[in-house]
């Protein structure tokens, strides 16, 4: 597999991952401190999927993510500050605090939403790809989804129609072994819940190391190129791991002993550091990237904390095109 990211780019990707990791840690702490309400699903451990894929995509491509989507929002250009502000119910949140952690969206960056009904966004991504094809724009749409989403009907319908219409869409599964608390292996017969389904639609599929940002970037680049050339969809199954529990304060006691540790040993940031070292990037450069990332996160936390809560009147806006929410005339 040709992995041709240069040292400079790789360092950039590393820094992005470091920012995301830092933001997720901050979100965790803010949740424990009671400053993030509701629920939140951290993506720490999944950074390489988002950052690698974004690197391989065009800025005008479309991304659809899940409720576990902080990493995708940030990889596509949402700032840590506007993401944390959203989680903390602040006016400056990327969705004006109307969406929350599960619905981070940054349309101007082609990040077309985070969806909290498992699998629902898979047909949407196919639809965006159809739109790109109709408009001849050369754009590609990408749906990121969890292993758990592979058993929902919408997946089947989306894969079939996308295949038959040869749409420029990538279906990227982040297989982190678990749904909420139940292992995917206990509710799926095939070994690779996404990749092993692709042949049912005559679609190409690849199982990849989702913790290696260069591997992800390479696979996505190839799949996107094929899609842009009219070659239709690809299914990618990125093997990865969520380092926190499913949501909020889930202690994840259902994990077998040693599992977390073995995955931490293959932490995406650690793998990237190894690759950087292989490229001869000095430790100091890596440390400087981490320091910059820490700075960005610290400023984001401070900005989000300092921001105002939403204006209560905003509760009744943004339903209709006229800006309001009236149901009667």
């Amino acid at each position: 597999m040709a992995v041709d990211i240069g040292a400079r780019d790789l360092l950039g990707l590393y820094e992005q991952m470091s920012v995301i990791r830092g933001t997720e840690r901050a979100a965790h702490d803010l949740f424990l401190a009671g400053l993030v309400k509701g629920t939140t699903h951290l993506a720490a451990g999944h950074e390489a999927v988002a950052v690698g894929a974004s690197f391989a995509l065009r800025p005008d491509d479309y991304v659809f993510a899940t409720y576990r989507g902080h990493h995708h929002a940030m990889a596509r250009g949402a700032t840590p500050a506007e993401c944390l502000a959203e989680l903390m119910s602040k006016r400056t949140g990327v969705c004006k605090a109307k969406g929350g952690s599960m619905h981070l969206t940054k349309a101007s960056a082609g990040m077309l939403g985070s969806y909290a009904i498992v699998g629902a966004h898979l047909p949407m991504a196919a639809g965006a790809a159809w739109s790109a094809k109709l408009r001849g724009s050369g754009q590609v749409a990408v749906a990121f989804f969890g292993d758990g989403a592979t058993n929902i009907g919408a997946l089947h319908e989306a894969l079939n129609l996308a295949a038959v219409w040869a749409l420029p869409v990538l279906f990227i599964c982040e297989n982190n072994l678990y749904m909420e608390y139940t292992p995917i292996g206990s509710v799926t017969a095939v070994a690779h819940p996404a990749a092993d389904r692709a042949p049912a639609y005559l679609l190409p599929a690849e199982v990849i190391d989702g913790n290696d940002v260069a591997v992800v970037a390479d696979a996505v680049r190839r799949a996107a190129a094929r899609a842009r050339d009219g070659g239709g969809p690809t299914v990618l199954e990125a093997l990865t791991y969520r380092q926190f529990g499913h949501s909020r304060t889930d202690p994840a006691t259902y994990r077998p002993a040693g599992e977390l540790e073995s995955w931490l040993a293959r932490d995406p940031l650690e793998l990237a550091r190894q690759r950087l070292a292989d490229h001869g990037v000095p430790q100091a450069d890596i440390a400087a990237a981490d320091a910059r990332a820490a700075q960005v996160v610290a400023e984001a936390v401070a900005a989000a904390k300092a921001a105002d809560p939403p204006d209560p009147a905003d509760a009744l806006t943004d339903v209709w095109a006229d800006g309001g929410s009236a149901w009667r005339t």
Partner: protein, 326 residues
């Protein structure tokens, strides 16, 4: 004299007018292409607009509506067909949880300008899974506009408004009306969403109706007119936005309100209309608010049974008589 067309023809005419006007309008659905749709409501579109803009799909309601959503978010104006409104249940997640919430959840970032058209209602002996009036499912979901025309001209004018709207619209075509005829609409005809029509003026009693119950209400009004009673018939045309101003103005004239709906009483839109009137129009009323609605049963197959379940002119007449006698 204006030309006369069927309600069925008005559907394809209404879509065709918008497709000619706006190249970003596309259609998708099952058997809508060369076959022209099971109700022939897309007849001619495939021939005129071709296979890129008129897409036949597999039997995948979630993909149809979900893809329409993704396309609508990215610069296309899809008109999706769900063959029978009962099948909205197969893609309800998109209509209840995704499409109507997108603009709001994203703080206004994303619009979803699409239309989902569907054949609604009973009276044709299609049985329990092909006959329901399901507009109330949609009424309960903030973020969906809900349209249900009663005449061919309104089909055309409301389709124009629906397709041009930047809000998602659920467009209910009534199966029982497809064969009915009426004047066609002039070029450029547009009926704004949320304006009820006074289908017949009168001062003695207000009948509020929608889609298939409009002709029932008019027939009942005709019957009462023979006895000198002047019933006013308000055709709501849309459930969202709901034109309560026209309803309240009518009740202000007549002081009596009868609501006629094809769906079951419990959970029906008539309850929403009644409750607004029982609040804001309380002082206007000289009599109880009555509703003629369907019984609490699935739609039976046999026509003699179906007649027992859904409103008929006779039931509307009887309800009017008892209301006027109050």
């Amino acid at each position: 004299m204006a030309d006369v067309i069927t309600y069925r023809e008005a559907v394809s005419e209404g879509i065709a007018r918008e497709m000619r006007r706006d190249p970003s309008v596309v259609c998708l659905g099952e058997d809508i292409g060369a076959a022209g749709g099971v109700f022939k409501t897309t007849a001619g579109l495939f021939a005129e607009f071709g296979p890129d803009r008129i897409k036949d799909t597999p039997i995948s309601e979630q993909a149809i509506v979900g893809m329409a959503m993704g396309a609508a978010m990215t610069g296309v104006r899809p008109v999706a067909e769900i063959m029978f409104s009962d099948f909205l249940a197969c893609c309800w997640d998109y209509l209840a949880n995704e499409i109507p919430k997108m603009r709001y959840m994203t703080g206004g970032q994303v619009k979803v300008p699409l239309v989902v058209r569907t054949a609604n209602g009973g009276g044709l002996g299609f049985g329990a899974q092909h006959s329901q009036s399901v507009e109330n499912w949609a009424l309960a979901v903030p973020g969906l506009k809900v349209v249900a025309p009663a005449t061919p001209a309104d089909v055309i004018g409301l389709l124009a408004a629906a397709i041009r709207s930047d809000d998602p619209v659920l467009f209910f075509e009534h199966k029982g009306l497809f064969a009915s005829k009426g004047e066609t609409a002039p070029d450029g005809h547009l009926v704004p969403l949320g304006q009820a029509a006074v289908a017949r003026a009168g001062s003695d009693v207000t009948i509020v109706a929608l889609a298939s119950t409009v002709p029932l209400a008019l027939a009942a009004a005709d019957e009462l007119a023979e006895g000198g009673v002047a019933a006013e018939v308000v055709d709501l045309r849309c459930l969202v936005p709901l034109d309560m101003a026209t309803v309240l103005a009518s009740v202000g004239k007549t002081s009596r309100l009868l609501i006629v709906e094809e769906n079951p009483y419990q959970g029906g839109w008539g309850g929403t209309v009644a409750s607004v009137v029982a609040d804001e129009g309380f002082e206007l009323l000289d009599a109880p608010i009555r509703r003629v609605a369907a019984e609490c049963v699935p739609l039976p197959f046999a026509d003699v049974l179906e007649d027992q379940v859904i409103p008929t002119t006779a039931k509307v007449v009887a309800a009017l008589r008892s209301l006027l006698a109050y």
